[in-house]
């Protein structure tokens, strides 16, 4: 009877998470977009040609973070520039990683949610989230669920995110001690990581003074033992020709 209407370009602009997941359920072809720093490259190079997109930049609740006492809950749409500017004191590892993402222009747009959903092994946000034991919050029309970061990544560009789901937030425990993020690339700026490393130290357990040694001696000896043990297990794991 009626002929199909020509495909109409659609750009969905939800204002709330509820609306976003409902739209995604109704329009599974719609590609979610926030900062666009990955997706738009693919679109510009004709590697992707979405007939519909779901814009998350208008969802105010995704662009907020909240102090939850011993952790910070970061909305998936908070750009890296704000993580660096606003969260360096409580999440130094993540803030350091955020500062190495792309350029100022990229950090004004790119988000942790996009980093997670893309699940690239070069994602700068991932090492500090893994080192601190963060939790990923995911929403769909069926409800919300929480996934420990250690169970989120399934492989290069593969994650626990299912069709119809959106990453809505990441809860990151506040630093209990010093944290480090190191990234190797061809220069200091605008670099996709060749490899990267994050460390979060929890120094809550303190060595004691007693008849067998002072706390200072124990601290020093532990550092020597830890460095030696790490070098040895690394060498053992990467030996080219096992004896």
């Amino acid at each position: 009877m009626s002929t199909a209407a020509p495909a109409r370009p659609a750009f969905h602009r939800p204002a709330a998470v509820d609306e976003a997941v409902r739209l995604l359920a109704e329009h599974p072809e719609a590609v979610p977009v926030a900062g666009g720093t990955d997706l738009m490259v693919a679109v510009n190079y004709r590697l992707a040609r979405p007939e519909a997109m779901l814009d998350l930049t208008g969802v105010a609740e995704l662009r907020e973070w909240a102090d939850e006492g011993d952790a910070v809950r970061i909305g998936s749409g908070v750009p890296y520039a704000r993580i660096t500017a606003e969260l360096a004191a409580v999440l130094p590892g993540l803030a350091a990683a955020a500062r190495t993402v792309g350029s100022p222009q990229i950090r004004n747009r790119g988000t942790l949610g996009g980093n997670l959903a893309t699940a690239s092994p070069a994602g700068d946000g991932h090492p500090p989230l893994l080192a601190t034991g963060a939790t990923v919050e995911i929403a769909s029309a069926a409800g919300a669920r929480r996934v420990p970061i250690g169970e989120f990544f399934l492989g290069p560009k593969r994650s626990a995110l299912r069709p119809g789901e959106l990453v809505t937030a990441v809860t990151v425990p506040k630093a209990a001690g010093p944290q480090q993020f190191l990234k190797v690339g061809t220069r200091n700026a605008m670099v996709i990581a060749v490899c990267s490393f994050a460390l979060a130290l929890d120094p809550a357990a303190r060595p004691i003074d007693d008849v067998r040694g002072t706390a200072d001696y124990r601290r020093h000896a532990l550092a020597v033992c830890a460095a030696r043990a790490l070098r040895r297990v690394w060498a053992a794991a990467h030996e080219r020709s096992p004896r």
Partner: protein, 171 residues
């Protein structure tokens, strides 16, 4: 606008495009975008004839297309135009104070000029936030703007000159 188009209206041009209204350099503009992934850079240059933002890499690497979106520097090539509904875009035409532009000319910071509009926007944003930045801060702020001619030294000189001029202009 999310319902599938049906009936006679589906055949008209009006429903096969996405109408986006935004402010560009202070003027209200409307653009009809025919695919959701059309970039702000394409819309500015190809639909609106506003060629201040330059098109080079289209992957956010070079910064030639830097514009301010609601006051923040972004690569126009990585913003979907449809994300700009109701938002404020400033290109090199509307974002850059005169002393910044003059300093680039005075200090020989322009050679081929292709990167210049993006650099001017990035420098304008830097000096608005930090009136007298040190070299390291300048380099960090301009890390997303590639120049293949100048070696950057003249550009950094120009930022200092612009900062000094603007400081002198303030009461």
């Amino acid at each position: 606008m999310t319902q599938p188009a049906t009936g006679p209206a589906a055949a008209t041009a009006a429903v096969t495009a996405i109408r986006v209204t935004m402010r560009v350099d202070g003027a209200e503009v409307a653009a009809d975008v025919d695919r959701p992934g059309e970039s702000l850079l394409s819309t500015l240059r190809d639909r609106l004839g506003l060629t201040g933002a330059k098109n080079a890499c289209e992957q956010g690497e070079c910064g030639s297309c830097t514009v301010l979106l609601d006051g923040d520097p972004v690569c126009a090539c990585l913003v979907a135009t449809a994300q700009c509904e109701g938002r404020e875009v400033q290109t090199v035409v509307g974002a850059v104070p005169r002393p910044v532009r003059d300093a680039f000319v005075q200090r020989g910071a322009v050679q081929c000029g292709f990167c210049t509009p993006g650099l001017l926007v990035a420098v304008a944003d830097l000096l608005r936030r930090e009136p007298d930045p040190a070299d390291a801060r300048i380099r960090e702020a301009l890390a997303g703007n590639l120049c293949r001619c100048t070696g950057y030294e003249k550009i950094i000189d120009a930022v200092h000159t612009a900062a000094a001029t603007m400081a002198g202009d303030r009461p």
